[in-house]
Symmetry: C2
Subunit: 314 residues, 2 copies
């Protein structure tokens, strides 16, 4: 039975550890990461593909910084918009080239620029925690603080700008994405968690200097679209308890109730596995049937229940 | 009777002469440029909005150049993709905010990342003529030539990189755009003429270091969509004969046959009014009913026949 599946591609599907992340490297990584997804499409499933944008926005910020005074400045919402164009294009073209090479009959693919509404009164707006862009020296950090940036010291690598990471309220383009998915179009959306915007007093929308978590935004979109399953492709084959300790243990499956207690016990790192588990809980508590967390390489096996970690409502 | 209209926004709708083109300036310019378009939408017309990206890609190239060695390099196709995300977002949000402020009931708006297929055997691919990015000194030009860039000397302002500007064959996303337009979605597409791609031997698509003319690509899309009218918004209220000379004369209307002879007589500058007239001819020879060329400020009057230059098939 064809299903509607939201596939969230983690940063490592585009840039691997140790790579600078050139466009050629990203295209090659995507060819590997998308192989399982092509097979899901061949089987007739409807897909929405979301993706991270950490390295891409990092490099956009480096370029903006280096060209300061020579090119106009880029607020963070515009950086995210640029990265959606860049990465959407690469995923789209990579996917269609794999269709061609693996004999999958033509399926239209479209990248929809997506905005995520956030709440200006969200307490997270007052507490910048999400690191973005390059590392700075102490001297640079002093200058950047004068510019109004929040900077956090990283024990080994210097200083880094931190921005708020508010919770996603809704994806403004959900309706348009829904229309396309219903017609069989594979849609690439909510890149980097979506362009963060909020509604101001007169009812108009303005961009926000913030970054929305990609997994949480994907979950909000998945609920809005009434998706069957969420496939979260990341750097590890399984979700783990006691990660990085001698007691480390892989999980094959868990329920929302178990996920909540493990989360409360601190098993999942904030900014890493934490938001993935929170996203899974949100999706499964709002009608979702199953969340699968695994690596892109094991996506297909995991979809068939033979790999990865499976999260169920009960 | 509601019509389907393709509106092509020229660069000056976003950045005015003398401005650096900050995001705040672009947003303010858009508010003015989109006012007439909002009225067309209020009247129930279906719209596709295309746009130029000269200043935006120019600044993306400046940033990439300044960050050379610190951030990964951006091929021109990826620069265009980034600019589509950036400008699509600004137009989309500007338009929806104008809906809000002028009481137009909600109409969905979507930005679709768009690729334009070009022919690798197009003779224009061998003759780079389209200037992109910043001006360089003679010393910089020497280094850039070693990198394989083509550079052209500009009498007053230094050297500038030139790239090929091949003819658009088709817009790959025309089908997806058509689906959305049919459902009443205002679609922003083919930014900067579309991301130039061509088909290689094995049938896969690859990006090309080139720039497609925005007006020609808009015309190819308009024909594919079976659009009624094409509204080309640029820096002048009328198309002119003997432009810039004492014999200068504004045209209120002309036929395709007249357009062809004026074009042959050299009335329309290449890279400026020339491609607009070529685009109009192509559209009108392939089923289009009317092309209107004018400034954004007179868009509505021109649409009603009271301003601008009107081009008709006969």
């Amino acid at each position: 039975m064809p299903e509607t599946i939201l596939v969230a591609l983690g940063g490592n599907a585009l840039v691997k550890v140790g790579q600078q992340g050139t466009i050629a490297e990203q295209a090659a990584n995507l060819r590997e990461a998308l192989a399982g997804i092509v097979e899901l499409i061949r089987r007739g499933h409807r897909l929405i593909i979301t993706h991270g944008n950490g390295p891409q926005v990092g490099h956009i910020l480096i370029r903006a910084e280096e060209a300061r005074g020579k090119a106009y400045e880029l607020p963070l919402d515009v950086c995210v918009a640029q990265s959606q164009g860049e990465t959407g294009y690469l995923i789209q073209q990579g996917l269609q080239n794999l269709f061609m090479q693996s004999g999958v009959s033509h399926r239209p693919v479209a990248t929809v620029i997506s905005r995520t509404e956030v709440d200006p009164t969200d307490p997270r707006m007052k507490a910048p925690t999400k690191p973005v862009g390059p590392f700075y020296t102490r001297e640079q950090a002093v200058l950047l603080r004068e510019r109004g940036y929040h900077l956090m010291e990283d024990a080994r690598r210097g200083y880094r700008r931190v921005v708020p990471s508010p919770l996603p309220v809704r994806v403004l383009e959900a309706g348009v994405i829904q229309r396309l998915v219903k017609e069989g179009v594979i849609v690439i959306a909510v890149g980097g968690g979506g362009i963060p915007v909020h509604v101001v007093e007169d009812g108009t929308l303005v961009g926000v200097e913030a970054v929305v978590d990609k997994d949480l935004a994907s979950s909000v979109l998945a609920v809005a679209l009434g998706v069957d399953r969420l496939l979260d492709l990341t750097g590890v084959e399984h979700v783990k308890l006691h990660f990085g300790s001698p007691m480390e243990r892989s999980l094959d499956s868990l329920t929302v109730a178990e996920a909540k207690s493990y989360l409360a016990e601190g098993h999942f790192a904030p900014g890493s596995m934490g938001p993935k588990i929170e996203a899974a809980i949100h999706f499964l508590e709002h009608g979702g049937r199953e969340v699968v967390i695994t690596r892109p390489e094991t996506a297909l096996e995991a979809f068939e229940g033979k790999a990865g970690t499976h999260v169920f409502p009960l």
